[in-house]
């Protein structure tokens, strides 16, 4: 059996608004196998980022709170940890990188300060000179040219791709076991995206890290993930190894997503298959299967909630009709 780096069990997260409370993540469970990349894919509002923030203990307070479930890191439930214990885990054991590196970096602090601050907080790296040496090493590792000079620069002096590399360096400063990457390449150009994906993959291999990679882009998933979880309206609707998912997608939503992507080998200007309608608002979800109001295969049965069931040893799907779909 493979080692599990992180286990999420029936996680539910709610946001309290002025009038209503919405459940943004509803019963999400998965295992992150040590040393692998789990891709989490879904459209806006599916709960993929909130899942990540719940794991990190970084939900916006007081509106967001985890109301159910366990998040197990080496058998310890992170949700039960006191705040200062969790603070020690963040950065040292689990780190996160975000979509927009400019907002995640402090604009008025030099790159080096921000990097060394994290290292000082979590590790005993010795005197200032040793700290700076480590910082230079890290920037070199993430592929930043002239790292000694970069340390003394401010975030605005770097390009988007360079800023994302700095964030990755900060996230990796304390050699975490788990890296959560939330749309880290979405704001980047395609050639820079390729560089950053390659970097994350290389670091995962070299450090034996486990990665949760969140994205809306199935192409990126195909490039980087080992396992894939497809989320829709707060739930995982399908989970499988990446090759299995792309070759034998079972859930109508996964199939719809894959089909609606324009592909390079497709006949140009042909009509793309679409998923009718739009993602329902979390405060007005259809009863039962949340995809039922957009699904061509929905029947009366779909008014009851489908469980995420095993379709084969490594493939799970939450659809009443997966066996009989064409």
């Amino acid at each position: 059996m493979n080692d599990v780096a992180l286990r999420v069990e029936t996680l539910a997260t709610e946001f309290v608004g002025d009038e209503t409370t919405v459940r943004v993540v509803d019963g999400v469970s998965f295992d992150l196998v040590a040393g692998t990349t789990l891709g989490v894919v879904g459209e806006s509002g599916c709960g993929k980022s909130v899942t990540a923030l719940s794991i990190m203990g970084l939900l916006p307070r007081p509106a967001g709170r985890v109301v159910q479930g366990r998040i197990l890191l080496n058998g310890v439930d992170l949700l039960q940890l006191p705040i200062d214990a969790m603070r020690k885990i963040r950065g040292r054991r689990i780190s996160m990188i975000f979509q927009e590196p400019m907002t995640a970096l402090n604009p008025v602090q030099r790159i080096g300060m921000q990097l060394m601050e994290v290292m000082r907080l979590h590790e005993d790296v010795g005197d200032a000179a040793a700290l700076r040496r480590r910082a230079v090493e890290l920037l070199t590792e993430v592929g930043i040219p002239a790292p000694e000079l970069r340390l003394d620069e401010y975030p605005h002096q770097l390009s988007g791709g360079m800023r994302q590399r700095v964030l990755i360096a900060i996230a990796l400063a304390c050699r975490p076991d788990v890296l959560i990457a939330d749309e880290p390449t979405t704001a980047l150009d395609v050639t820079i995206q390729a560089q950053v994906l390659e970097l994350i993959e290389r670091l995962r291999q070299q450090r034996g890290m486990s990665v949760i990679f969140i994205t809306h882009d199935l192409g990126v998933i195909a490039e980087i993930a080992d396992q894939v979880a497809v989320m829709y309206a707060g739930r995982i609707v399908e989970m499988a190894p990446v090759e299995e998912l792309f070759q034998r997608p079972l859930h109508p939503y996964t199939r719809g997503l894959l089909a609606s992507m324009p592909q390079l080998q497709q006949q140009p200007k042909s009509r793309l298959p679409t998923i009718p309608g739009m993602v329902p608002s979390l405060s007005a979800l259809p009863a039962g299967c949340r995809f039922s109001n957009r699904c061509a295969h929905a029947t009366a049965l779909c008014a009851t909630e489908p469980a995420l069931e095993q379709s084969s040893s490594d493939h799970r799907v939450a659809c009443h009709h997966w066996k009989t779909l064409p």
Binding site: G161, I192, H216, K269, M278
Partner: protein, 346 residues
């Protein structure tokens, strides 16, 4: 062959950079430098490139939302580069634009009906009753129900707002629409709906499109011809099929090989053959001398830093199969040798 609908020759746009106490001009951003292309009626030209390559500036200049610094723009054979006043207003019936963020481009305080009626009012068309009927027809055409007219932009989702943006763009039956990252902010399932809508409208109205996007798969799907831009210049121009199957410029190759492909089975092979460009796009304030791509080009030779390549006309390998050969061109001193090298590999 009939004359192109739009023809752009040597289009250039420099933005002044001011500095010092007196805010004197200290330099200029070479946003667009000597760009030429044409678009046929009812066809789509895709404009691709990374951020800062000037593709959006080209789009805005065509509508004269920005004044070109040099070059000329011909629309239906007429030089529109310096039109003003009534003539410029008349031109804007013919050329429209759809932006990336539909929310920012729709007046939040106006109902959708009012937003869609505005083009008719500006151009003094129709009576109030006629305009109401036209608005209803527009909504129907873009797949929105007629009660949308009474509602406000914030009541709509991103995809629906983009439909409203498209309805406004087609209101005056233009001949050309510039789509500037029009689907980039939309979710995949919604994006395909909007792309289909654009294709349908194009066929029904014989619309020409200039499709500006950073998603190369989307551009391929929508385009007849594609122009690849790098640092303000077109480095390659050809039929979509040529660009995607037999790219000639090293930058086009690198751009294509960086696209994530929804095919996990062959990803290791892809990784090995991927051309990962080093470094970032240089500053358009001081573009590199010679070929602007040379500092990042794996095939660069010493003279690439000094000799500026010109766009050389090339014959399309596929053009004749499907349609009239497009006016392909490539700006690289060594594209023949580079292409030969790749062909011998494969």
């Amino acid at each position: 062959m009939s004359a192109p609908l739009l023809e752009v020759r040597g289009l250039t746009k420099h933005f002044p950079v001011r500095g010092g106490v007196l805010m004197r001009r200290v330099g200029s951003v070479h946003a667009v430098d000597d760009v030429s292309f044409s678009v046929n009626r009812g066809e789509t030209l895709g404009l691709v490139g990374e951020s800062g390559c000037g593709k959006s500036t080209v789009g805005k200049t065509l509508l004269r939302l920005l004044e070109p610094s040099a070059g000329s723009i011909f629309f239906e054979g007429t030089d529109i580069t310096h039109l003003a006043g009534t003539q410029l207003r008349a031109l804007r019936r013919e050329i429209q634009i759809v932006f990336q963020d539909p929310f920012e481009s729709l007046n939040a305080r106006h109902s959708v009906g009012r937003i869609l009626e505005e083009p008719f009012i500006v151009h003094r068309l129709g009576t109030a009753a006629e305009r109401r009927r036209w608005v209803a027809e527009l909504l129907d055409r873009v797949g929105l129900s007629s009660d949308a007219a009474q509602r406000y932009p914030h009541e709509f989702s991103g995809g629906q707002r983009q439909r409203i943006g498209i309805a406004r763009a087609i209101a005056l039956r233009p001949k050309l629409i510039v789509c500037d990252e029009a689907v980039s902010a939309l979710d995949v399932s919604i994006q395909s709906q909007v792309l289909n809508l654009l294709l349908t409208l194009q066929a029904e109205m014989n619309l020409a499109l200039i499709f500006i996007a950073h998603d190369l798969a989307v551009v391929k799907h929508m385009s007849d011809d594609v122009a690849v831009m790098y640092l303000g210049q077109i480095v390659e121009r050809a039929s979509a099929r040529q660009i995607y199957q037999r790219p000639r410029h090293p930058y086009t190759r690198a751009l294509l090989s960086a696209i994530p492909i929804a095919d996990p089975v062959n990803r290791d092979a892809r990784r090995r053959s991927r051309i990962v460009l080093q470094g970032d796009v240089p500053s358009p304030l001081v573009p590199p001398g010679g070929c602007r791509f040379h500092p990042r080009c794996a095939h660069a030779r010493p003279d690439c830093a000094t000799r500026t390549p010109v766009l050389e006309a090339v014959v399309d390998d596929f053009g004749a199969d499907v349609r009239a050969p497009s006016n392909g061109a490539v700006a690289c001193h060594y594209w023949r040798e580079i292409a030969a090298g790749y062909n011998s590999l494969s």
